[in-house]
Symmetry: C2
Subunit: 703 residues, 2 copies
């Protein structure tokens, strides 16, 4: 038996079967004779609310001028990307979010949707344009007032005034509130003195800082009349149009990075650099000529968060870009896995197509399901963002929801992108490691997405905090006994409303009555219950554990929290996963075509089960699944993988990438050509009677 | 309460505390007043059996001539690395494994130990030298006979004859037996005709093929008198000393890769290239002048594996190199994590050192434990390798054990290296993404380690096959009832002996009697029982599931196997983890110093619990852990992390890396200097009474 089950090491024997071989199962939906998705319909679903913008940008970036060229030096790549940003500006790439008076569409959702698609051309171009318009430009637009807009917006839009967004410091990454740069007001000259008091306060990792930037929006502690009013943003010229640094400004080059080398990241420091008082971007805080500070927002904390509010669009767009990059990786790996053959099957016929291997399906199909979930949850996030930024739903509550949603989804999708691109690269073997096949380049470039625009763990901790406050709000005024009873309960009930959780059964349909035993207790409504109960229970557990903190001295309270930090982050992650699952389920429910809905339901189930399997121990320890049902989870996933295997190509084709977006030779049909040529060669040799006889076949058989 | 527990977003308040702050726990073993490792002793343990060679090579590569320079073009990097390989040859880097008559030490273990250390200088240099001496040179040495040695070994050793190892083809990676290149014997001229019959049979991904190689050891199907005798190896000149391709030889450049860009990987094809009959490396198979084939090994299968046997050294050495790279990554991240501060603690004192965060400990310390385990299991692998290759223990059984051991450990350590380097990079935030801090470069270079020298999943499948045959062997002749009974049993007993498993209690000591409730049932002997029972049960489960295969038609048997492929790979992984755990435990047991042993025991426990936690659902589903005890696993890990935190610096210092090996500015003490400078600045401001007052402090407190 063992001799027939593992084949990697059997020398080539019979290679003389006609082309075709014996697949272990159907490879296409047509072969399977099953319901099959309508690729165009699903394609439109995935493109989402701003489908037109996405199509427009995808059309634009078919022009090779926007593509990455592998092997360029850092200097060449930087030049090319700066040119691409100018080219984008000429093609309306910079104006979608701008008010009409600046030639814009005033369409924030479209702006981010278009931005996200740029990842297909070159992530460096994407992020460089994000620095210019999404960070530097947004700071002027969102934190500045009319005078500032008039002076700088048009030039920023046209990339005539390239700028850096100087927030992060060497000594302070995600902790912006603690930055060391100071902006001290001097009433004698009506100027702010921007100063970097020590090395750790150098601004760092700033795109446009090393070479191209002529100005920077500099975040600094605003000090006037001896009072520190906290972090504010200042417009500070840093270079002449010829690239000469201005007096008092120092710049260093960050040099080579792990990716995104088309961006000139660098450091900036300011040695008592003076800017006019009116260079304070004064929408949320201003200093009068005599040094008097004023702000429309009294609370320093709320003022700080309001000023940083524009940053959320970075997180929102990274969620989308990471999802598109994951989709591209899967398109490449699944297309190749459907053509590439390796090892004979042991059935003595022909070499096996990679995607026919059980393990290969297991590696890629759950990631495909996850990527689908991300498309749908991202579109929901983008709509929330657009509502708030357009002003339609701009309430403090919705802003907070948006912040929480972005902070929950961006970490998941950016980490998933790295894992997905890596699995895709490994699934393509040595070919996957070649730059021309794009997987390694995308992975390198996206690496930094997990720590910039808010470190993923820090963001999840913010989500955890929100979940804890929502939780606490439910019990305001409840006595200790009620709370204690609650904390130990196995079924915590539905206590979250604010952060995007939907209550069970409200929007989630029961998608059928197939009653195979393995699926029993693992269908849609059960998936939802398991995923949402987990969030609630985890938050409840952390809250219970932290309850003594309010009565402890501060240092002991901090230590208590520290012991539960990892759990809180896990709870936040569970919350994000639930949001993704819900968005996927909503999309399935809204699907009108029966066949399409059937296949997407399988895919959604695979996503749900994949999440449940990942946290299976938790469900067992907390009594949510019996050991029998837990064992069934894995079997069900195996079954779903086999069921979805014939649909894999349809499902990646629905991403709608065209050859100019894919550009990976291994996903171009080249592999199929090579396979066909090799098979024809052997068939021909056989037909002509010229095939050599294997030595083995001459020997007496041993059995 | 919730306000005090999450601090990422609190604006800077009191920064006026004197340097020092309030750690949540001790940061050094000295502060903790606890047992503490003897760094030198542990350092020697980690260097292992060939410590002297490792020290010698580490000393050699302190010379900057061996270091990687970030940002070089591919062409520059390739030139530099070729030069480095010549420099290594001049410094005895190429001769440790050679017989004495070629100036060698005939020391295979030392050869690989020295090779592994090169990863610290530049992985490209490491792998390029591995291509030259470990693959190309080894093929001549191991597959050739005396005449071949006399003709080529000295020039190969001196890097005067750079060569490619032409095994892999575009169409066949890990499946070497199925390659398409042919070597057809022509008795008329006593030559072999080397031919590439179709595009998929082009040799690909070969180091030295694009630029520097002057010859190649080409694997091809040996055909003589109309019979295919399977894959054999031929010495084929490909370029003149001036770099001109020889007639009939074609070469293409693989171009930019995801890493290792100092190596000139490329493709080779042969258009009826004729080489003399004596260019067949004929140790295991020869063709007489008249075309008669002969071989000392009758079985074609065994002959194939014997010829590929030398390849195991690649796998062995990658296990070591991946472990060293992981250690370097952890050295950098933990050193930085011990100096870098971010966010105040909520205790109102000072910013917190990263490694004081519970989550940060959780991210890095289990990986540190894992890396320790890998050092010890690698040394055991290297000793097994040396025994076989020196001839001391060169039996078919030991060769098979060596193959299995290497196939089990290489996948784990190479995957772990990618995960460890990535976690280290993220733990260092934006700094981790800068090439100068080395984490991204190491990760990119090591990426391909998981698919070359045998794809990790293919290797694990080989291990799974071995486990299945060991399992079957136990039951040879047993009747079906016995087998069935066995298959359903919960305690399978100890059935493995061959593949390196040790029986419970034989070598594993009970390391103490600390009887804290959380540790109950999770101490050394229980860890071993859980880990080894899991391997046995998983193998038994797969074997039971596959039993019907022997009675099925081949295609159905193949399909049945395919459904259990992922499980078999998981069982093999579990086996590898057990081997690592056992090696770590043996090392702990052999430690004489009580304090050192105590700390290493905690670290080993962390590794064991980390493995158990990773597979917790399995242990629950299979009734090996109660839900209560399973819940205790995570708590115990948290406790071990806190316990080990003060020892973290000692444990990475024990790796023994010197500044010339580390070279990452963030791990050089620079961060500490910056922190100290910033703190001194604020203290001085305070002392001079010039610190601005926070706006917040001027307002009436709300509570």
């Amino acid at each position: 038996m063992t001799d027939t089950v593992v084949r990697p090491s059997t020398p080539a024997t019979n290679r003389r079967t006609p082309a075709g071989g014996a697949p272990t199962a159907a490879r296409t939906a047509a072969e399977a004779g099953e319901p099959r998705i309508d690729i165009d319909t699903v394609g439109s679903m995935l493109l989402g609310t701003w489908a037109d913008t996405r199509r427009e940008v995808r059309e634009l970036i078919k022009d090779p001028a926007y593509w990455r060229i592998d092997g360029q030096t850092v200097a060449e790549h930087r030049d090319r990307v700066m040119g691409q940003v100018r080219l984008l500006a000429q093609n309306n790439g910079s104006s979608r979010a701008l008010p009409e008076e600046y030639g814009g569409l005033n369409d924030n959702g479209a702006n981010l949707a278009g931005f996200e698609e740029l990842v297909l051309a070159d992530p460096s171009m994407q992020i460089k344009s994000g620095v210019q318009w999404g960070l530097f430009g947004s700071a002027v637009l969102q934190l500045g007032t009319e005078e500032h807009h008039k002076r700088w917006v048009a030039d920023i839009r046209d990339a005539k005034l390239p700028g850096a967004f100087a927030m992060t410091e060497i000594g302070h990454g995600s902790d912006v509130a603690a930055i060391g740069t100071t902006a001290t007001y001097d009433p004698a000259t009506e100027e702010f003195v921007i100063n970097t008091p020590f090395r750790a306060a150098w601004k760092d990792y700033l795109g446009n800082a090393a070479v191209h930037g002529q100005a920077a929006t500099v975040f600094a502690q605003l000090i006037t009349n001896g009072v520190n009013h906290g972090v504010h943003c200042f417009f500070v010229p840093i270079r002449t149009a010829d690239g000469e640094l201005l007096p008092g400004v120092q710049s260093e080059d960050d040099g080579v990075k792990g990716g995104l080398n088309g961006i000139d990241n660098g450091r900036l420091a300011f040695d008592h650099v003076r800017v006019p008082r009116t260079n304070l971007l004064n929408r949320y805080g201003d200093v009068a000529a005599d040094g008097t500070y004023s702000s429309p927002i009294e609370s320093t904390g709320r003022r700080f968060f309001t000023m940083l509010g524009a940053l959320v669009q970075g997180r929102v767009s990274l969620d989308g870009a990471a999802t598109i990059a994951s989709a591209l990786g899967l398109h490449i790996a699944i297309t190749y896995g459907n053509q590439r053959r390796q090892f004979d099957s042991g059935a003595g016929t022909d070499e096996v197509v990679l995607l026919d291997y059980g393990k290969h399906q297991r590696r890629l199909l759950p990631l495909l399901a996850q990527t689908y979930a991300q498309f749908f949850s991202h579109d929901e996030l983008l709509r929330t963002f657009d509502g708030v930024f357009s002003g339609r739903t701009d309430t403090p509550e919705e802003r907070e929801n948006l912040e929480t949603l972005a902070a929950a989804l961006k970490p998941l999708s950016t980490w998933n992108a790295l894992a997905t691109l890596q699995e895709a690269r490994e699934a393509c073997g040595g070919s996957g490691f070649m730059a021309e096949n794009r997987l390694v380049g995308l992975r390198s470039d996206l690496d930094v997405y997990v720590t910039f625009e808010g470190d993923n763990n820090v963001l999840l901790q913010l989500v955890g905090k929100r979940l804890l406050s929502d939780f606490a709000r439910q019990f305001k005024g409840a006595d200790a006994a009620t709370l204690a009873k609650y904390a130990v309960g196995q079924t915590a009930g539905k206590v979250f409303h604010g952060a995007g959780l939907r209550s069970l059964g409200q929007r989630v349909a029961d998608f059928g009555s197939t009653a195979r035993s393995v699926e029993l207790g693992l269908r849609a409504e059960h998936q939802h219950e398991l995923l949402s109960d987990r969030v609630e229970q985890m938050v409840s557990d952390v809250a219970g554990a932290l309850r003594p903190a309010s009565k402890l001295p501060k240092d002991q309270a901090a230590a208590l929290f520290n012991r539960h930090q990892a759990e809180l982050i896990e709870a936040a992650r569970a919350h994000g996963e639930l949001l993704q699952w819900e968005a996927f389920s909503d999309a399935v429910k809204a699907t009108e075509n029966d066949d399409t809905r059937q296949v997407l339901t399988w895919l959604r189930d695979l996503f749900g089960l994949h999440l449940i399997e990942r946290h299976l121990a938790w469900h067992l320890i907390n009594g949510r699944l019996s050991t029998q049902r837990a064992a069934a989870v894995t079997k069900y996933i195996d079954r779903l993988c086999a069921r979805l295997r014939p649909h894999a190509q349809d499902l990646v084709d629905a991403f709608g990438f065209e050859p100019e977006h894919v550009r990976a030779p291994i996903a171009s049909g080249l592999e199929q050509q090579r396979q066909d040529e090799a098979r024809a060669y052997y068939a021909d040799l056989e037909a002509r009677g010229e095939a050599p006889v294997p030595e083995k076949s001459l020997k007496p058989k041993k059995r």
